[in-house]
């Protein structure tokens, strides 16, 4: 005979609460490992061009297929000041300051992302 329990049992509750606890602790660990950000990584056409520290205020430009994209670092944030592209989405993205945020200028093939200089693995690996 295959008798089956329908009402929630104590084991059910333990299981569900246990799994939720694991998930929440896991989320905390992931967040902790992702850490803060201290470096802006600039890529053109998928290749790394510049790795700049966020602690140092500066302005520089990188060259893409359309021309040069001007980037500013100030107060631990990054933005694109000017770009030769048409829609200026990268400029409109404005400042970014959180780990793994990105600014993308597809026409000029420029990608700026915020990484941690300590981390060995980039969270964006999945998309590449």
């Amino acid at each position: 005979m295959f008798i089956h329990k329908l009402s929630l049992t104590r084991s059910d509750i333990f299981l569900i609460v246990g799994l939720l606890a694991v998930a929440i602790v896991g989320l905390g660990v992931v967040r902790y490992m992702a850490g803060g950000t201290d470096t802006a990584l600039v890529q053109v056409d998928g290749k790394e061009v510049i790795r700049a520290s966020l602690s140092q205020d500066q302005r520089f430009s990188v060259d893409g297929p359309l021309g040069s994209t001007e980037i500013e670092i100030k107060d631990n944030r990054v933005r694109v000041v000017d770009s030769p592209c048409r829609k200026k989405i990268c400029v409109d993205t404005d400042w970014i300051d959180k780990p793994y945020q990105t600014i993308v200028c597809a026409p000029n093939r420029v990608v700026i992302r915020l990484i941690s200089s300590r981390g060995k693995d980039e969270l964006d690996g999945i998309t590449e």
């Binding site: 084991s11 299981l15 660990v29 969270l123 690996g125 999945i126």
Partner: protein, 175 residues
Amino acid sequence: MIMDTRKMVRLSLLVSLATVLSILENQLPIPRPLWLKLGLANIITLLALVMYGTREAVIVACMRSLLAGIFGVLPMLMFSFPAALTSSLSMGLLHRAFGQRLSIVGLSVSGAVVHNLTQLAIAYFVLSLNSSSILALAPLLILAAVMAGVLTGLVARYLIKNLIGGDNSFRDSGV
């Protein structure tokens, strides 16, 4: 496995129900993150598990996965088939191990979690998206699985209660 005609017909019906649910779910025009699903077909796997047992549940889950794959996106079988296998198997084994101490909802939740973690493991090892970034998804997948598992478990409970009537057996009871 000895199978009489009635059982065979019932299992076929369960497979087709599960397949339809699976296909339907993939085409629901509700906004959701691309790879998160409720796993409605798991309701039928649970039903098969309660009606017959582990082996039948595994058969229903695997057949459903294959059929839904054929009618859907074929390469996705690489993810869905192993996940269907491990999740139905784990639900059966857990049921065997815990018996009455774990209800339908508990089984559903554990099946959902095993399902998601299997797919994550496939992405990590087989596709060699060898990056810790993909493992960072694990907590999120567990969280989603628990929620989906509770929901489908409750639906399965409601279904079984009304189909079979309470905490009783209906194995070969002519339902």
